[in-house]
Each structure stands twice: as structure tokens, then as C-alpha cells.
């Protein structure tokens, strides 16, 4: 420890005596060993952090121009898009950023499903991650309500009323959330406060915890074997490489690719054909004009499809809540010895593949009107969604115990 602290002279020594900069870099970057076999799925953690920072920065500037309030919110967003120099860039980056946040987070979660990253000893890492996801959903929902377009209004109406299905306290709770008998000024000002102050703080704290927990256990990898169990003579993992410079440089390539895709959407198709910004939301909120189909933004639609698939609203709300909360129990439902899908049997592969397809199908169905064949399909896929969680303990126990290699799979370039 003292060796690194004494390094260098002059200002650097002065600084390190007072702030352990070199020590931090040594512990967390150059001396932190990560498995060398990360593939493309391992880009999305650092990218999620990047989007978070981007949302905070663009959010700071959007907040300077946004005026929460029934009469002012919609106009202030249009003013920002049209009359503030590069206001359109800020607003689009922030709005498109929300969708990209979820793209990245869903891929990050899919990675954990594929390689069993949620399994011991990383159960808490997964649970903290899921709390980030829940906080992010609340953050995104409120952010969607703020511009106060017609879909903001009606979407908020549907989502807030869901809390009314809670027995006993429901109706009072709904009123408390809205701050009024209907959605209006009081709702917007409190959502604004929560969106720019409370939830960003919560998310930042959870991200910090997520990273601390990651450093404690070390990263999983596509082979799902623990590199710490195979140390070299120097006490370092044989299959590990220093995070810096190897993964910092690799992640920068990921950042470049991500920003290119992001810029293409922001500059050329910011509404993404009505998927990232919905048409009806370019009309101001109007309590007397319901949009033809009320659909939340794409990242909520899997759960929305489950809600609508159930004829009884209370049961629907309960199943929807369950479908989100189910993720939390994954580490204990998966009873396989092996983590990675690479070393599990065909049944596990089919089960997981079906789950991925189910999630995407529900996402698509949530965007469709709830009539005809769509209702039937939504019911089928809702059953399949929960079937995954019910079957997982048995399937994973049965076919996740084969032999695994001692060393990770890596082909040098």
C-alpha cells in the first residue's frame, strides 16, 4: 500500500497524502482483475452507467427550461425544442436516452440470464440491480408524464389508478399520489420533484452499491466459472486481466458503437416511428379526449400486456406486479450447479429461449389494441411468462450439473 502512495514526487505525493488517488486506481482499475473472456454482452454495464450520466447532464439543462404545471409544461417543452439554441438536441437526447437506457438495461439483464450471473455469490449484486431497475421504471414513468402530452395524461391515469386496486388503502393512496382528485398541477409538481431530485439520488446510491458489490465478488463470465479459484504463482487469477487498460480500452469501443447508434436515432429518427415518442403525446393533455389506444412506451409494454390479459382488473394488477417482482427471486429459483447456459442441457436452453421470445412477444402485444387475436396471444404468453419461473427450479436442477472446464474459453487475437 505504501509503495503506491510514495510513488512520484511533488504535487502527486502531496495529493496522495491527502486523497488516495493512486491507491484507488491501483485497487479498482489496474489491480482489479476481470475475466479475459468477456464478449459483447459485457458492454452493457458500463454503457448503462454512461447513459445514466448522460441523462443527468442533459436533465440538468432540460430542467432549466422546463416549467412544471398544467398550463405551462407542454408549452415549455415545445419552447425548448424550437426556440432555445440546441434545445432540440437536449430534449431529444434526454427523451431518446430514456429508451436507450432501457435497451441497455434489458440487454444487461439478458446477459445475467444467459450466464447465470445472478447465482451465488452474486445474489445481492442481482437484487441491487433489480432495485435499480424498479427505481428506473418509476423515474421513466414520471419523466414521461412531465411534458404533459395527451398520452402522458392518459398513461398516468391508467398507471396511477392501478394503485387503487390495492385493498383498503387503494383509493386514498391514489389521491395521495396525485395530490388532488384528478391528475393536474399538484401531480406535475410532485412528479417533477421526484423525477429530478429524489429518484436520481436513489438510483445513484444504488449504482454505487451495485459497483461495490461487483468489486466484492468480481465479475462472472460467459463460462460461469470463478476465476478466483484458479490463481497463478503471483496470486493473480490465471484467467484474469487488469481492468485497466484492457477493459477500459475495450469499453471505449463499446461506447463508440453505442454513441453512433444513439446519434443516428437522435439526429435522424428521434421519435423512432412513434416508438420512442408516441404521436398522441404531441397533443397537449386533454381529459375529455382519450387517445384511440392507450399504450405506455415500449419498455413497459410487456407488463402492460400481462395486465390487460387478465379479465379481472385486480387480478391483472396483481399478476403485473408479480411479473416484475419475480426477477428478484431468480437467484433462488435457479438450482443448477453450473451458472452459464453453455454448460446446461437442452431443456434449459429451450426454457430460456422461450422466455426471451415471450418477453419480446408481450412487449409487442402491449403496443397492440386489446382486441381479437391479440387478447388470446397475450393470455398464452402471460402463461408462458410465469411458466418460466415455475419450471426453472426443476429444469435447472435436472440438467445444469454437467462438467465445466477448469479454465475460461478464450481465443487470442
Amino acid at each position: 500500500m505504501s509503495a503506491t502512495m510514495d510513488k512520484g514526487g511533488g504535487f502527486r505525493a502531496w495529493l496522495n497524502k491527502r486523497l488516495p488517488v493512486d491507491q484507488f486506481v491501483a485497487d479498482q482499475l489496474t489491480g482489479y482483475y476481470a475475466p479475459k473472456n468477456f464478449n459483447i454482452w459485457y458492454f452493457f454495464g458500463s454503457l448503462a452507467l454512461l447513459v445514466f450520466v448522460m441523462q443527468i447532464v442533459t436533465g440538468i439543462f432540460v430542467t432549466m427550461h422546463f416549467k412544471a404545471g398544467e398550463a405551462s409544461a407542454f408549452n415549455s417543452v415545445e419552447y425548448l425544442r424550437r426556440e432555445v439554441p440546441y434545445g432540440w438536441l437536449l430534449q431529444y437526447m434526454h427523451a431518446v436516452g430514456a429508451s436507450f437506457f432501457f435497451i441497455v438495461v434489458y440487454l444487461h439483464m439478458a446477459r445475467a440470464f444467459l450466464y447465470g450471473s445472478y447465482k451465488g455469490p452474486r445474489e445481492l449484486l442481482w437484487v441491487i440491480g433489480m432495485l435499480i431497475y424498479l427505481a428506473l421504471m418509476a423515474e421513466a414513468f414520471m419523466g414521461y408524464v412531465l411534458p404533459y402530452g395527451n398520452m402522458s395524461y392518459w398513461g398516468a391515469q391508467v398507471i396511477i389508478n392501478l394503485f387503487g386496486t390495492i385493498p383498503g388503502i387503494g383509493p386514498d393512496l391514489v389521491e395521495w399520489i396525485r395530490g388532488d382528485y384528478g391528475i393536474g398541477d399538484a401531480t406535475l409538481t410532485r412528479f417533477f420533484s421526484l423525477h429530478v431530485v429524489a429518484l436520481p439520488f436513489v438510483i445513484a446510491l444504488l449504482i454505487a452499491l451495485h459497483l461495490v458489490a461487483l468489486r466484492q465478488t468480481g465479475s462472472n463470465n460467459p463460462d460461469g466459472i470463478e476465476i478466483k479459484e484458479n490463481l497463478g504463482a503471483d496470486g493473480k487469477p490465471k484467467d484474469g486481466i487488469p481492468f485497466h487498460p484492457y477493459y477500459t480500452l475495450k469499453d471505449i469501443v463499446g461506447v463508440g458503437l453505442f454513441l453512433t447508434a444513439f446519434a443516428i436515432v437522435v439526429f435522424f429518427v428521434p421519435t423512432f416511428g412513434g416508438l420512442f415518442m408516441e404521436g398522441p403525446n404531441f397533443e397537449p393533455a386533454n381529459p375529455s379526449s382519450t387517445p384511440e389506444h392507450i399504450a405506455p412506451v415500449w419498455y413497459f409494454t410487456p407488463y402492460y400486456a400481462i395486465l390487460r390479459a387478465v379479465p379481472d382488473q385486480k387480478m391483472g394488477a396483481l399478476l403485473m406486479a408479480l411479473s416484475v417482482v419475480a426477477f428478484l427471486f431468480l437467484p433462488w429459483l435457479d438450482r443448477a450447479k453450473n451458472k452459464s447456459i453453455r454448460y446446461r442441457g437442452l431443456a434449459s436452453k429451450i426454457l430460456l429461449g422461450t422466455f426471451f421470445v415471450t418477453f419480446l412477444m408481450l412487449m409487442w402485444l402491449g403496443l397492440k389494441p386489446a382486441d381479437g387475436i391479440y387478447v388470446l396471444l397475450a393470455r398464452i404468453f402471460t402463461v408462458l411468462y410465469f411458466a418460466f419461473y415455475i419450471l426453472l427450479p426443476f429444469v435447472s436442477k435436472a440438467d445444469g450439473n454437467g462438467p465445466v472446464p477448469e479454465r475460461v474459453t478464450y481465443h487470442a487475437h
Binding site: K36, N75, E78, Y79, R81, R82, W88, L89, I241, P245, Y246, L249, K250, I252, V253, V255, G256, L257, L259, T260, A263, I264, V265, V266, F267, F268, V269, P270, T271, F272, G273, G274, L275, E278, G279, P280, N281, F282, E283, E292, H293, W364, L367, K368, P369, Y410, A412, H413
Partner: protein
Amino acid sequence: MPTKFASLLGALVLLAGASGSFANEGGHAGWQREADNEVANLPSLQRGARNFMSYCSGCHSIKYMRYSRLAEDLKISDKLRDEMLVRPGEKFSDYIVSSMPAADAQEWFGKPPPDLSLVARSRGSDWIFNFLTTFYADPASRQTGVNNLQLPGTAMPHVLASVQGVQSAVWDNVEHKGEDGKPVVTTEFKSFEPGVVGTLTPEQFDEFARDTVNFLQYVSDPAQLERQSLGIWVVLFLLMFTGIAYMLKTEYWKDVR
């Protein structure tokens, strides 16, 4: 250059198109057409602005748009702007707001004419194009004498009758199976027939409508012209950045065995 690059981004545009159909709701009636307008076409935007100011702005506002911004983006000279665009008693920095009192509008049409600043985003340009081109004579409509395929029962009179003329609709009785399996007869639109002739031919009128739609699409997001030309440089820079980052990464990763 911008259009060439846009074609390079074809894959993404396709993706966006797919997402469009992804979010698309309901069926697509046979008479519906695509607006096929091109927002980069400046003369078309200028003609559309002229059409809008002559035929629409008496009743409809584009309240988020200033005369000055419009003139600047559409390359209309200050002289022409002040003479032709800005209405008497208004300044060039004013927003383009209809002078029709809301109470009168309510009485005349049953509802105030909506602001059109964002209609191209909320409804889409194809919707506006079909709305503008499918007015037809309908004696059953006592208020205006016309009806519309895209928005049946619209409160809007056929403002463009002098240029389009007034066409009449031919209907067909179509028999198909109802939900309970019994045959149901519904009346479906078949085609238009020319009625009263306007000053423009049907082809010319389509162009007229297309220009107007194009203008409204520009108005819905005036930054889009600047956005796309700036975007090309941003994307080019990022691709270069990614390329260099990749080479740097490869160089370092040679050591990893």
C-alpha cells in the same frame, strides 16, 4: 450530400420503418395514400407556406411558429416576409396565430379549429394528406355540404373547393360475415367521381396538398433541417472515433494470451 448519406443509413431507416409498422394501429383502407413529401425540398416548403397562409391560417394557428423563424428557415427574404407573410398590424417576431375569436369559431363550426403546429407529429403526414384530398359532396351534412373519408363528420368546410373542385363518392354494398357468422351488409367506399371542377387538375391538386403537408411537417419540428445536416458530421466523427478506439484496443489486447 445529406441525401446520399441518408441512403447509407438505409438499414437504420428500415429499422425505423419497421418500428413504425410496429406501433401502427388498426387497418389501412384501400383509398389511403402516402403523402410522399420530402421535407428537404425547399421550393415545396415555400409553396406549402404560401398555401397555408392563403387557405388555412384564417382559422388555424401554428402558435409555436414565428414569422421570422419561418422566413429564415425557408429562405424567404425580409422584404417578401414583411410584404407577403406578416399580416397587417403584426410584427415579424410574432407567433402565427389565427385572428378568429374562439367564441365565434365555437359558434360557426361547433368547435374551435385546432392549432396545427404539431399535427404532422400527432397524426402523421399521410393522415393530413388523406384528409386534405378526400373531401366529397355529402347532402346529408347540413352544416358544410361535404364529408371526409379520413375524418368522417369533420366540422371543417371544404376550404379548398375552389382549387380542387368538389368530387363525389361512389359507394358499394359489400356483404361479409359478421361476428355471429350471419352475413352483414356494409357500405364501403369505392371511388371518387369528378363533380364540380376546380382550378387545378387532380394531379396538380395532389401536388398542392403534398406541399401543404410538407410545410406542416416542417412546422411540427423546425429544427429537423438543421438536425439532419449536423447529424451527418456527428455520426461521421463517432465512426472515426470508434475506428481509432478499436485499433488502440486491438494493439493492447495483443498481449492477452
